[in-house]
């Protein structure tokens, strides 16, 4: 069924769509003046992008944002895996805690962001705390799922052969739990990014989200689009990398 031409056709459709999108954008802004405020000309947006890059403002804001993301993620990973692993030490613990964690994750934790701002102020700490809290959940939940899913059968077999606790952990638990746990780490990562950016947009002193909110407030739409473009590009690259990593690990 797969003809050799198909991937080419698919790529053409995809690039075609993107081209149509940009084409329409360019065309609309050429002819109509009315949308100028909401939809600036592509050339203007491109110029702003170059300006942000060369003036260093992009890097200044990005540094702040990325630092927040990294700090929050590290906290979430350490806490999430630790808690997740400890909970799976007993079936009773899993039955008590897993539904609680799952329930808390189901609430949009964005609701609690204003509380973080009240406690931690408007600086980076509130974003780090908020993002760490939010991404903690999928990591912990997936770690629990991963370690719970290790087949008892393998543990019994390995124990019957005389494996020590450390050997059981290294040769059965860890490899068995790894796939699901890694998925949790991936989900947690993207939630961390979204949370930091969300927090910065809502209330921050600096950072990419803040710059976006500020340019909107000042009605500097070309610059707003420029910022958005950078984030979209970064996000697309990250997603493609994550996809590539996933397909490669699946192949093994």
């Amino acid at each position: 069924m797969a003809m050799p031409r198909e991937p080419v056709l698919i790529r053409s459709i995809q690039f075609g769509l993107v081209a149509i999108l940009f084409g329409t954008w360019w065309f609309v802004t050429q002819s109509s003046q009315k949308l100028m405020l909401l939809l600036p000309r592509p050339e203007l947006v491109w110029r702003e992008m170059q300006l942000l890059w060369s003036s260093g403002r992009l890097w200044a804001a990005a540094t702040i944002t990325v630092t927040e993301i990294v700090k929050a993620y590290v906290i979430a990973v350490v806490a999430g895996i630790l808690v997740g692993f400890l909970v799976t030490r007993s079936k009773n613990l899993v039955r008590i805690f897993e539904p609680m964690l799952a329930g808390m994750f189901a609430i949009p934790l964005t609701l609690f962001f204003p509380l973080f701002v009240v406690f931690f102020g408007i600086g980076p700490d509130s974003k780090i705390a908020y993002a760490a809290t939010y991404s903690f959940f999928p990591i912990a939940l997936n770690t629990i799922a991963g370690f719970s899913s290790v087949d008892e059968l393998y543990l019994r077999a390995v124990r019957s052969m005389g494996a020590s606790s450390i050997q059981q952990f290294r040769h059965v638990y860890l490899p068995g739990a790894l796939p699901v746990t890694l998925t949790g780490l991936r989900i947690g990562f993207f939630i961390c990014i979204a949370s930091v950016l969300g927090g910065e947009t809502l209330a921050a002193a600096a950072g990419v989200g803040k710059s976006i909110a500020l340019s909107a407030e000042l009605m500097e739409t070309a610059r707003l689009y420029a910022w958005i473009a950078f984030v979209v590009l970064a996000s697309v690259v990250l997603n493609l990398l994550a996809l590539a990593a996933e397909t490669r690990s699946e192949r093994e």
Binding site: R156, S160, G162, H171, P175, G176
Partner: protein, 268 residues
């Protein structure tokens, strides 16, 4: 030799109604080099008894001695255990699985590779040494599991319905190979099954258990010498023993089915 003295076992469930008496005062002596089959209807406790012999479970009453030492937990140097489903770790190759089995036993020198290949050749699986378990069929995996059980060089080999998940033809072939293999090693073997034919073909002695709570109902000897060829299944001796087993078991099977129906109706 294996000595089982007045072993009883109860499983406590989450709710009081789920408590189950699996074994009720079971005693049995197994000689060195003997091949014993534990046979009985589903839920009669035969797998539980095997797990207790192997140190995977602790009985709430009674003792088990293997080679004159009590069994309080797994004894990897004396007892090898082969499970119903393949326990080859899926994230290692066949060969690495053997290496690990020996490492868990405490053997960490360079002899592992020869021992592993030797065991694999006994079951005709050397060409799959570097394969991953998921690349192998069920029958192949169980051969390898068997080989792993032999490779660790224990006196006692416990097998918990190792062929249950396989189709009948594979079972027959593996059963023959098992008979030949084990005749040469002189190990003491305890084999759990609920197949009558399998029990008669393989065992020196068949221990028939009652429906839950499990007790020993009868012991039948099969005096035919090992190794046994498939022709043994056509011999009149075979049919006679098999029919005898069926007669003994029939009531127990009926009782088990009746209890299952009762439980199902109670659940509504």
């Amino acid at each position: 030799m294996i000595s089982i003295d007045h072993v009883s076992m109860t499983f406590v469930g989450r709710e009081a109604s789920q408590t189950v008496v699996a074994l009720d005062d079971v005693s049995l002596k197994i000689r060195q080099g003997e091949f014993v089959c534990l046979l009985g209807p589903s839920g009669c406790g035969k797998s539980t008894l095997l797990a207790i012999i192997g140190g995977m479970l602790r009985a709430i009453a009674g003792t088990v001695n293997v080679d004159r030492a009590p069994v309080n937990g797994p004894r990897p140097n004396d007892i090898a255990y082969v499970f119903q489903e393949s326990t080859l770790l899926p994230w290692y190759t066949v060969l690495d699985n053997f290496r690990l089995a020996l490492k868990f036993q405490g053997i960490d020198d360079t002899s592992w590779r020869d021992r592993a290949m030797h065991a694999l050749s006994a079951v005709d699986m050397t060409q799959f040494a570097n394969h991953y378990p998921k690349q192998l069929s069920g029958g192949m995996k169980q051969r390898i599991n068997l080989a792993r059980g032999l490779c660790v060089g224990t006196n006692v080999l416990l097998l918990d319905e190792p062929f249950a998940a396989l189709d009948e033809q594979t079972r027959m072939v593996l059963g023959e190979d098992l008979s030949m293999l084990l005749a040469r090693t002189g190990k003491t073997i305890v084999f759990v099954t609920h197949s009558l034919a399998e029990a008669v073909f393989l065992a020196d002695r068949i221990v028939v258990m009652t429906a839950r709570p499990g007790k020993i109902k009868a012991e039948i000897n099969v005096p035919h010498p090992h190794p046994r060829s498939p022709d043994f299944m056509l011999a009149p001796e075979f049919g006679k023993i098999r029919n005898e087993l069926y007669a003994i078991l029939r009531d127990e099977i009926r009782a088990t089915v009746a209890r299952m129906r009762e439980a199902r109706d109670a659940r509504g």
